[in-house]
């Protein structure tokens, strides 16, 4: 039998982006013996790519701001599908978490009074995003990393987890391998926090990196947790569209926050045409007013002018761009134009430095001299592992989740900037929840050997099938999966497409069973992909089934055969879980918001998806 090494921890955190690092720091602070597993090198997780900012109602720029407004914006952005308690905790605690980052060494841009500067973003009523130019995620992960390494927890770099181990219904460990040399590793743990991020690698055009293979969603599903709201997949309106090698890479919403204008090939500024009736009064009446708003924002002065229409929520802007392109008004490479070049070049380079370099280096485009070409890119999944709002525990005892892999916080559509605040608010709560669970647990649960053996055997299979003959190339299978998801489960959906997609996914499952690899276990990406495909398939099937079951358009979920929002359907979350016969789908009632919070939403729910 092949060997494996063994480590024991009170709390094992899987994933070392913002949420995982924050969870590990918190669990350590609670006196736990903590292990942190990262699939990449420490500090390289996907958080590093977040650009625009972290949303927190500090009120440094717009003093009217407070947690209640942030809560309202978040719920409205999520089309009221959000778990209200998560949205409340998030809005209440984000300011403290941001101040904490500052005390840990994060160097945010400043207002002229010396406070943390905040910028406008889509769906946020006030200027709320604390930022560092357009590299806020890097600042955040480096700050957490440099704090974390002094907190005494063990870090396992370039390590992938393939199986959660359970003692009865309780989670008790995790099995995986080191990418570097392929040696196996068993973690015995009393509690596990999943913080593995998203599912983007199931789609062809995505802003997500290779790591986003739905690991946490897949592991939790296999362990008996349920996944909710999986139909809500966010397509970021502005990804790069050219050159082909960088298609999908994110162009921060900060460009529009700083005054970027969207135009089609005729030079027409189209976004005003796509504003939902219900939100039109929040935006400028004409281009002159937009310009006054931008000038006031640049000067750092207050204005009564309203914001430009480009700052509508991401779902609206993505659909608008998609429609412009589909109807033949797109740019040469199949996007639309995003222009910030009318502003002072030095200021653009200062406020959007990585966008400047990204376009200059990768596309030969000087964004201070001309427009960028942008189009929608799969960016984020609102759905994920269902957790208790206060403790972040899933329905599997001892299994917690935080950040993108968990569901509920963002409802049907996430506002920009709310993901970074999500990471630090719920990362901390998950670390705290896991520590409290462990303190009450007593003796460590058992790690049944048969489960460990089965996990190890699973990882050996791709080598037994080999890299030739009837064995499938894992990269070919991924490409097929991407095509299915992008073709049949994309921005606009309908019953017929979804049913075809689901059928094709079922067929592809056979291929996944037959993927094989050759070579040694040393840093073998083909082997890694063989396992990653299973998680991606779970997420893909969950997305497709959930999308088929939601017969309305709401937030990021757009059905061409059900174009209206149906208030009745807003009362239920879609939940999938593992059954003896495969994936089981249920409609479960949304948590009901208490009256004292309901009063914040006096306006009647509209039937228009806006």
């Amino acid at each position: 039998m092949t060997n494996y090494e063994t480590h024991e921890h009170d709390v094992l955190v899987i994933g070392a982006g913002g949420a995982g690092l924050r969870a590990a720091i918190e669990a350590s602070a609670q006196g736990m013996n903590v292990g942190l597993v990262c699939k990449s090198l420490l500090g390289k997780a996907h958080t590093v790519m977040a650009e625009g900012g972290v949303a927190a109602a500090l009120g440094n720029v717009d003093p009217e701001d407070n947690w209640e407004v942030h809560f309202q914006d978040t719920m409205n952005g999520g089309k009221m599908m959000n778990n209200w308690r998560m949205a409340q905790l998030h809005a209440q605690e984000a300011p403290d978490r941001v101040r904490e980052l500052q005390e840990w060494g994060a160097v945010f841009d400043r207002t002229n009074k010396g406070q943390i500067l905040q910028r406008a973003f889509g769906g946020h009523k006030y200027k709320r995003l604390c930022h560092v130019g357009d590299r806020t995620g890097l600042e955040m992960i480096r700050t957490l990393q440099d704090q974390g390494i002094h907190r005494g927890f063990a870090v396992y770099m370039e390590c992938s987890i393939t199986k959660l181990i359970k003692d009865g219904d309780k989670v008790s460990g995790a099995f995986g391998y080191y990418r570097e040399d392929g040696r196996y590793v068993l973690f015995k743990a009393k509690a596990i926090v999943l913080a593995t991020g998203g599912v983007g690698k199931a789609f062809t055009v995505t802003s997500n990196s290779w790591e986003y293979t739905a690991d946490g969603q897949g592991l939790a599903y296999d362990a008996g947790a349920d996944l909710i709201d999986m139909e809500f997949v966010q397509f970021h309106p502005t990804g790069m569209v050219w050159p082909p090698g960088v298609r999908g890479i994110l162009v921060t919403e900060g460009v529009r926050g700083e005054g970027g204008i969207l135009r089609n090939k005729d030079g027409y500024r189209f976004m005003r045409d796509y504003l939902p009736e219900s939100t039109k009064d929040q935006f400028s009446a004409n281009d002159a007013e937009s310009e006054r708003w931008v000038n006031a924002a640049i000067a750092g002065v207050k204005t009564k002018d309203k914001r430009p229409p480009e700052l509508s929520t991401r779902d609206n802007v993505a659909r608008a761009i998609y429609t412009e392109v589909k109807e033949g008004r797109g740019s040469p490479h199949g996007g639309v134009f995003l222009d910030i070049s009318y502003q002072d070049a030095a200021r653009v380079r200062k406020k959007l430095p990585s966008m400047y370099h990204q376009f200059k280096d990768l596309a030969d485009v000087d964004i201070t001299a001309g427009p960028m070409e942008v189009g929608p890119t799969m960016h984020y999944i609102m759905g994920g592992i269902r957790v208790d709002a206060d403790s972040q525990m899933s329905r599997v005892p001892g299994l917690f989740a935080a950040g993108e892999c968990s569901g509920g916080m963002h409802g049907a559509n996430r506002l920009g900037g709310n993901s970074l605040s999500d990471l630090i608010v719920f990362g901390r709560l998950a670390g705290l929840g896991a520590a409290e669970y462990v303190k009450k647990l007593g003796a460590a649960p058992a790690v049944p050997q048969d489960q460990v053996d089965a996990a190890l055997a699973e990882m050996e299979e791709p080598f037994q099938r080999g890299g030739s003959g009837s064995a499938k190339n894992p990269y070919d299978v991924q490409k097929k999966l991407n095509q299915i998801m992008s073709t049949y489960v994309g921005i606009f959906r309908n019953k017929e497409d979804l049913e075809i997609g689901i059928q094709k996914l079922q067929e592809l499952k056979e291929d996944i069973k037959n993927v094989g690899t050759k070579g040694s276990k040393t840093y073998n990406p083909g082997w890694h992909m063989c396992r990653d495909l299973k998680n991606m398939m779970i997420a893909s099937e969950a997305i497709a089934l959930s999308a088929l079951s939601r017969e309305e358009s709401r937030g990021a979920h757009s059905r061409t055969d059900f174009e209206q929002l149906n208030p009745e359907l807003g009362k239920f979350n879609t939940a999938v879980s593992k059954d003896a016969d495969g994936m089981k789908l249920e409609k479960t009632p949304c948590p009901v918001m208490p009256e004292d919070l309901k009063r914040l939403f006096a306006k009647k729910e509209t039937t228009h998806n806006g």
Binding site: V48, E103, V107, R110, E180
Partner: protein
């Protein structure tokens, strides 16, 4: 379709050879795309470390035609048609496989640095002009290209005496933070070994974030060390007050 001639180092733990691959060129392609093409179509076992593919994470450092750079930023159209493009792992750190090197030494060094220590009770009113320089240092994506090219580490392998440019940048960022209260100058002088740097600026040249490592981080640190430990007038006053 035009084809690129890639010569990629293949092997484990330094033992290996260069292998040739012909990869179709797409418009705007970078070298990392070419490696991915090999991975997806020719050999799924070829190892390359990467994450963001947008020059933000600093994972895909390697040496292309001898020049240390990020593979995701190395445009294929910079090469002559038909030119052989040699890709090999960064040299200063132990080889793992193909294009992947073991950079864990850097993470061990980072742990030794006294973390940010805010002045107790500070009101956190901090002005933009006071943090501009620190923000320049915090752009660092930890690609370790500066560490790779630093001759103290690369040619003389003095990892025992010098933390390298990356950590001079980190130390400078902490020392110049207007709210920080710790003093790391003894560390800068002794364990971190700032004196080893003889200002050849190779690190600055390869920095994908355009951080002025030598001019803005290392030289000011050297000056602070001189002020703290070697200034004769200060030394005189210190000895006088000590004598009292």
């Amino acid at each position: 379709m035009a084809e690129a001639n890639l010569k990629v180092f293949r092997g484990e733990k330094d033992s290996g050879t260069f292998e040739n691959y012909k990869v179709p060129i797409e418009e705007g392609m970078v070298v990392l795309d070419a490696i991915h093409y090999i991975q997806q179509n020719m050999d799924p076992t070829i190892a390359v470390r990467w994450n963001c593919k947008a020059a933000k994470c600093g994972s895909c450092s390697a040496e292309v035609n001898g020049k240390p750079q990020l593979l995701c930023k190395s445009r294929m159209d910079k090469f002559e048609p038909g030119e052989e493009i040699t890709v090999q792992p960064i040299k200063t750190f132990p080889h793992v496989k193909d294009l992947v090197a073991d950079v864990s030494w850097n993470y061990e060094v980072n742990k030794k640095i006294v973390p940010f220590t805010p002045q107790p009770g500070h009101n956190w009113v901090v002005y933009q002009e006071d943090i501009e320089r620190v923000q320049e240092f915090r752009k660092c994506i930890e690609c370790f290209l500066c560490q790779n090219v630093c001759h103290v580490l690369r040619d003389h392998n003095r990892k025992d005496g010098f933390y390298g440019p990356r950590f001079m940048v980190r130390l400078a960022g902490l020392e110049m933070h207007p709210v920080d209260s710790a003093n790391r100058l003894k560390m800068v002088k002794e364990d971190a070994g700032v004196g080893f740097c003889n200002i050849t600026k190779c690190c600055t040249e390869v920095c994908p974030e355009d951080i002025h490592i030598t001019d803005n981080a290392i030289i000011p640190l050297k000056e602070r060390v001189v002020d703290e430990f070697y200034d004769p007038i200060a030394k005189f006053f210190k000895s006088v007050f000590k004598a009292k």
